[in-house]
Symmetry: C2
Subunit: 262 residues, 2 copies
């Protein structure tokens, strides 16, 4: 486990001034636009949010439980995850974040983090000072609204995960998670899981689904036999999405996909 502390000095004024708009934040805009209407003004403001870019390695911590953040990291590429630890050392992954998603809107309003935030793969982050974000929100209500909706949808996903862990068996649980990732990735038309392979190890899948790595292994095998996934060596890839959806009885309403088209 990587024990490096929060890996940034705050981007200083000079560094920020030097920042060019390279369109890095486009992915954020595309992600927000999946659920919120954004005017071209809003988009322009978002695109020119002052920020610095940071690369982190796999497993680097982005934020720790108890920390007080002063920047909001936005995930430009790669995957990240939130997790909490039980007293007995057990670990529960409580969210997976994908490219384009803001990672810590919570710190705009809450003093201390209640969970850990870690890089699942190597990641690129845009670091936006919270004060900057605050003033942008104050001046652009639609942007504040879009960010609130982002929070609400993450909460909705959390509720679906509760249902998943509390009431479905291992096979359906696993299939459901894969369906969700496929659907979320497809929303922006980024390279989807049909192209790339699953960024989670079996142990991480276990920590996410409330199971053990051994049981994940056996369940993956049944999923493979059913055609839901393909595997070669350590690589895990999506097989037939239809099959996965059927096994999980998947419905994506909880993602609020078409919320923007009210």
């Amino acid at each position: 486990m990587n024990r490096s502390k929060g890996p940034w000095g705050l981007p200083n004024a000079a560094a920020q001034a030097a920042m060019k708009d390279g369109g890095e934040l486009d992915i954020l805009i595309r992600r927000l636009a999946c659920h919120s209407p954004l005017s071209s003004d809003d988009r322009r403001v978002l695109r020119s949010l002052s920020h610095s870019i940071r690369r982190l390695e796999q497993n680097d911590y982005i934020l720790r439980e108890g920390d007080r953040a002063e920047i909001c990291p936005i995930l430009l590429s790669g995957f990240a995850y939130r997790h909490k630890l039980a007293a007995d050392g057990g670990r529960q992954i409580v969210a997976i974040k994908i490219a384009g998603e803001p990672l810590d809107l919570q710190s705009l309003h809450l003093r201390v983090a209640d969970h850990n935030l870690q890089a699942l793969t190597a990641v690129t982050l845009a670091l936006v000072p919270l004060v900057e974000l605050e003033s942008v929100i104050a001046l652009n209500p639609a942007i504040g609204r879009a960010l609130t909706i982002d929070i609400l949808i993450e909460a909705s996903i959390g509720r679906e995960w509760l249902l998943n862990i509390g009431r479905r068996n291992a096979l359906a649980r696993l299939a459901h998670l894969l369906c969700e990732l496929v659907h979320r990735l497809r929303l922006t038309g980024e390279p989807s899981l049909d192209d790339i392979d699953m960024p989670l190890t079996q142990e991480q899948l276990a920590d996410l689904l409330g199971l053990t790595a051994v049981h994940i292994n056996r369940t993956l095998k049944t999923l493979e036999d059913a055609g839901g996934v393909r595997r070669s060596g350590r690589r895990l890839m999506i097989g037939d999405v239809e099959t996965l959806c059927r096994i999980a009885s998947y419905s994506d309403i909880y993602l609020h996909r078409d919320n923007a088209t009210a």
Copy 2:
């Protein structure tokens, strides 16, 4: 199961105009003040939010998955809960709401509900039209902020529940839930669970904790032997909170209790 549909015609203008400020919303203010600073202006605005009062029976639905709401119910007394259904009929309770909490801020921003909202006990609701809430928020940023914080804390509780269901055994799970309810109820100094008794049936506890009613029954017995709870007939009451906290390794940071005192 109660199949009555959403039980209100919208409060009409006349009915609203007739509404007096009887201080019914004080409980909301006290609840919000637990996590957000509110000026006396903010409090006055909140207190005079136009609303109508509605009583519902135990098990009445407040909102159904797929519904589009136009009012925000605020829970003035009693308990309510959110739940979702799995394809096989399994049910998962994903949130418990207590007096003072707004029940559907989500509909301010999302078109359709992704879960059901039901009265756990007989309840009193204040029904605030969403349009009214919107304009109040627009004019009083601190109120909007308080409501956002309410959303964030519910999400934090959801993450803790994921940890609870995913990684703790039945005994710790049950104890953890009871600890949480005790702590949340104590925040406003309302009659707490030391006084009143547990509003949940064993079946509801099961649906909440991802277990079965039978197993809840046996687990309650062990909890009683340990001193954590007392029971007489169907009534379930908190025994020794210390004991419960020890069994659950309980820590309440996730409730963000002292967020207001930044």
